[in-house]
Subunit: 279 residues, 6 copies
């Protein structure tokens, strides 16, 4: 994650929430009134972004705010854990509070859900990855949270990986045709992945040297056969409607990667509060 | 919702996903290859944003894309319902697909969860409202989705409403002091809301003419007493950890407004696919 | 007023004036040449923005510039008063000078005109407020200057207040219809204001519980009747062509608010110079 | 004036006023409801920007709005003159109205004041010009309005003209030194102007071949001597506290240019209304 | 290449060149004066960007400009060839001319130089690729031009490919350590490339399964040995100071890829003029 | 060159190269690992931008990076010269490296080529200037590099100088007509330049008092006659296909300015490396 991009993003989030000013706090607090508060876990979860995101929001609102004691990404915290302590002008702490909390709650939600998928599959040498089903505008942050939760990232956008689907195959007349056309066109640094529905397609992928073979919504039995067929000739990725209930069974088939859209599109946020300290 | 802001936002979302180009589709499709696809519900849900958001994404990617048959916001759709039909250059349909779906799924998720809260309270004259606990960068869209689901919006940002909390009261020495200071400072167009924990505070709010009294995490019995005490002298808003299980009981206390953070921070996304038509 | 928005705005103003560089000063001064200057009042006026705006412009141009002795907003200054002392690299003082002065002169002009309206009505319990007739791009700053001059703000934009005018009434068939439709749709945090031309409309507003009744270009006698009719059942706002000559008479009618477009669209700027100190 | 820059600027103005939507108009008007309105002069003035600015605002809000009958820049209009007729979706006409009017009123105010200065000096071959004392963010538009009023522009920013003042002279030890240093450094396309206080300085300017000699706050008699001394060897510009009362006397001295800061920093706005047509 | 990003970029280029307007053309041409011109090759070269870039510049300046007859990317054109015909308002053709030509000349320069490298190696199954040594701000366009010239792209930025260099190896203690750490961390869609100086390093790369082995500034003999050692177990890329004189010899070693920084950082621009048609 | 504009530009360049993060360096280096490196000349050249540009890139990436020993612009450096020493977090040095080098190599290339043209004409009192044939997006920086190389700048954009060409003359019916129309319209601070092909046009320029006469692609003999004809009545600028071979002969004709497009559109970049120090 890079700071130049991050700061630009966080500034726009602050502007969304603060707009032309905080009508409640600005008239009540002088910019000299100092205060201190703890961001505290109200439930148990896996944290993502205390230092890299939440603290950065406070510092962007006012560089004089100091942020200490940030809990490390990926830590499982329990109720009452202090996640970050912020100190500085009260008016700026109040103005940054909501954006910092919204982000920290959202990212920790993603890290927590990811960690549950990871936990379910810990017996298998498999990666849980995200997808491009992220919240628009937040991809960099959400993919960061997936990593914090013990997961891995899939391609970041349409520019940094090839994924051949039905349409592309239809456009070329054949899977092999699509692979060959693209291999001839795209950078040598790019891997080629193909979405397959049948074992015949898996075999065709092997024949034309595809790097990653996605098994799209296949049943467990077919997945096993696909894994056996592929061996170490390509990476095998299971995808499509994976849940906490099904993920272990899928992992047991031997696939190398399981991509889960729900990590980023359906993780409920974690409950975090901001407790002010008596001065 | 305003188009000038919306379009700027959607363009940045497209750039996030497409980056410098679609490595898979651009080499395979000429810009002359036309196609058509349906966005189709894969489960039952309440829709938000088919015309105003998803169609706009496609048109921004390429003004030549035509969008037809958008289902009206707030409609409960069933599995298989076609939500929007898009036609135009295949390469642009593919490039806009993910952003359009991510938004439509997310917003429909919010509308659907909102509609469930609304349904639970339909016997009571109460409003279900959102909060500022929205996904950073998406507030305008998420608040739009809440309305589509039958809910109402709370204040949009720190500039368009006053909400006095503990800190503000502490800073002024008293609730009444905070209210009077702010009433003297803020525009006459702004309502003053106070977060209360006790009936004493509710009474103090009434004495100093607060417009909206928030009952923060009060138990049902205390809420009832607060409602009785307030009568029609102010709006009464219940807030704090409201769930689908508790919302009807809260509504039965007679509060006017129930604000629910979960509407925007924890709604799982709806499942929507894009089915291509045979040409 | 919030710094994140403010700084973005001030940076764009600096870029407008400096463009690709100062052709006169850059070749003549090394970045090590230090200097100091006073911003000095050349006439008597009420100041707005010495610390919050002018000093910020200098600091954004170069964080090494120090700004001291800023006169407090709302102070009536006399000819020769030093409003702000700036010290730092001469080349950066010269590059920021014009933007800082243009803003300080403009905002002080607004504060000064506002204070004259306030002075004229000091015997009455009435608010002088601005309108949306601000200079495009400067609304946040101009509304800040109105407050510095002792005035109050009206709604900030089309999103944070409802103001029902002729068209809206016509669209709904009746004033009451428009009010009821909007009350049903807009957030409970939003007040509803209606622009009225006749006493009949004022009465209709009372009947449907409007929060703020604007008397648009009414004669003094009708205003008095309107005020009597309304009592404390709503806020009454006089609007339309208010001048320094007429404002006291309008205030005497007992209206609660007088909104004056001229505060922001027609205030002449104040004369302020920058006097360099001999080193 | 260039459209690419202009449109970016106008879009940001629309966003400032509309924010996340028009709470009053959006719930009342469907996007299919069409209407038509005239922008009408409520007083007599010289117009600037009906087609280039006001109409552009409406078209940016919604390209389906048609704008007709725009009065030509620089025309002296009388009370009741229709300045522009706009037709299209009512909701978009209402959303763009305030920005369009604010700009048209402001720019026409500048054109009108400019035309009064021009009128006062019509017997003399002199140019009335603006200065850099413009409203931050609006320089391109305000300088356009000065031209519409019959005035001329001075340099646009610090990059497109050299103006040597006291500080620069002090930094180099002498006026001649500053001129020679800069002539050696700046592009050959750039004219060199020097601000002078005395006839000695004027003579020194002539000796070192300055292109434009500014007479800064000189008395009329000294100006006459300066003009006589310069002849056609340089352009002579009078500057400093020029008013409608003094401008003719200054023009009579024979100076070529009179620059007037008040054109852009103190022109009151013109009164323009928007009259809706009965459909 | 994607239009949303492209248009934003081209708009900023137009603003750089036109600034607040064209002082020469705007006063001389009404917006109704139409004209037509040909962009014509003044020398022989390989073209890139006539339709995708130059025509887009003209259309962005004014959507009424029509662009016809664009020569296809990658075509070798001879002196006098018409590359694109543009028709529309003369003032807008003049305002867009320089930006369109600057881009077309620059991109065609890159395509031309690329095609010369490609030509030199046409007997070998090798790819000529670019590097990250592009002109800041123009990477998407310059990489497009490389493709137009028959070359291929290397990774686009630091996010879409891993390239392990000395520092990274030093940081981990060993090449293998760096590879293993990164393979464990980065997305499975990302290939791992290592920069090597010696055959020992090449062997170590093979042992730990590196995807792409860069031979950095190796002599021809060592390259041959490296190629032999690698066989088809990885892609081999030669890099470092490759010139038109040396490229064929390098290609003859059997490497799969030759990356050439000069393609984008040192290609002289092509000479293209704009010839106006007599009307 | 102004910092506010510069920093905005450099930040966008960093974002282009780093995108969402450095996949190689971020996993390998903690943000606490410090390092130091020298930017070193790999060939002999004239440097531009070590302090003003390259160091600024590093500081923007991380303000904790310290930059020392920057070689002064315009210095001819030899192989092995250390141009700048940078110290700070290794991960940020690596992330900023490519952008800093790309810019420094490009700008030094321009300074070097400029200095060669300057050297060729050192016996003549002539200025070598750039043109508007710059790389889009980099004009401010490239014109800075031209000055560093001993050259001069021509007009910066279409707004800060008038240059009358064929089209403009045709539009007015005559050269004199165009000059008179523009002189009447443009600011008095703007010089008027005319592009001429014949001695008749040169004479016409003199008759109507043009400030700068461009001799466009004239042969040497005609240039000499033009220079003789003009004397000191205007500046004479030679333009069109000037090369290192022809520039001295052109300078010998006595023209005051020779403008060379190649300075900015065809300068090969200089070779600069970044050598890491052993810690």
């Amino acid at each position: 994650m890079d700071k130049v991009s991050l700061q630009s993003m966080l500034r726009s989030f602050l502007r969304e929430d603060i707009a032309h000013g905080d009508l409640t706090s600005e008239p009540l607090f002088s910019s000299e009134t100092m205060g201190s508060a703890d961001l505290v876990a109200r439930e148990s979860f896996v944290i993502a972004g205390a230092e890299a995101v939440a603290a950065e929001v406070f510092r962007l609102q006012n560089p004089e705010i100091s942020c200490m004691g940030a809990v490390k990404d990926g830590t499982m915290v329990s109720v009452g854990t202090c996640l970050l302590t912020v100190s500085g002008p009260v008016v700026d702490l109040l103005k940054a509070e909501r954006v910092a909390l919204n982000l920290l709650q959202h990212l920790s939600g993603i890290a927590t859900l990811t960690s549950r998928f990871v936990e379910k599959t810990k017996l298998y040498p498999v990666r849980i990855t995200d997808t491009r089903k992220t919240t628009p505008g937040l991809r960099m942050l959400e993919k960061y949270a997936v990593r914090a939760g013990g997961g891995y990232n899939h391609r970041f956008n349409l520019s940094d990986g090839v994924l051949i689907k039905d349409n592309h195959i239809a456009a070329c007349g054949s899977l092999t045709g699509a692979v060959e056309t693209l291999r001839e066109k795209v950078p040598h640094t790019i891997k080629i992945e193909v979405e397959t529905d049948t074992l015949d397609q898996v075999r065709e992928c092997l024949d034309c040297g595809v790097d990653i073979i996605m098994l799209d919504n296949m049943d467990i039995e077919t997945m096993k056969q696909a894994v056996a067929m592929v061996g170490d000739k390509a990476l095998v990725e299971a995808s499509g409607g994976v849940t906490l209930e099904t993920v272990a069974t899928i992992a047991a088939t031997g696939v190398h990667i399981i991509s889960v859209g729900a990590l980023t599109h359906s993780a409920p946020s974690c409950d975090i509060g901001m407790d002010w300290k008596v001065c």
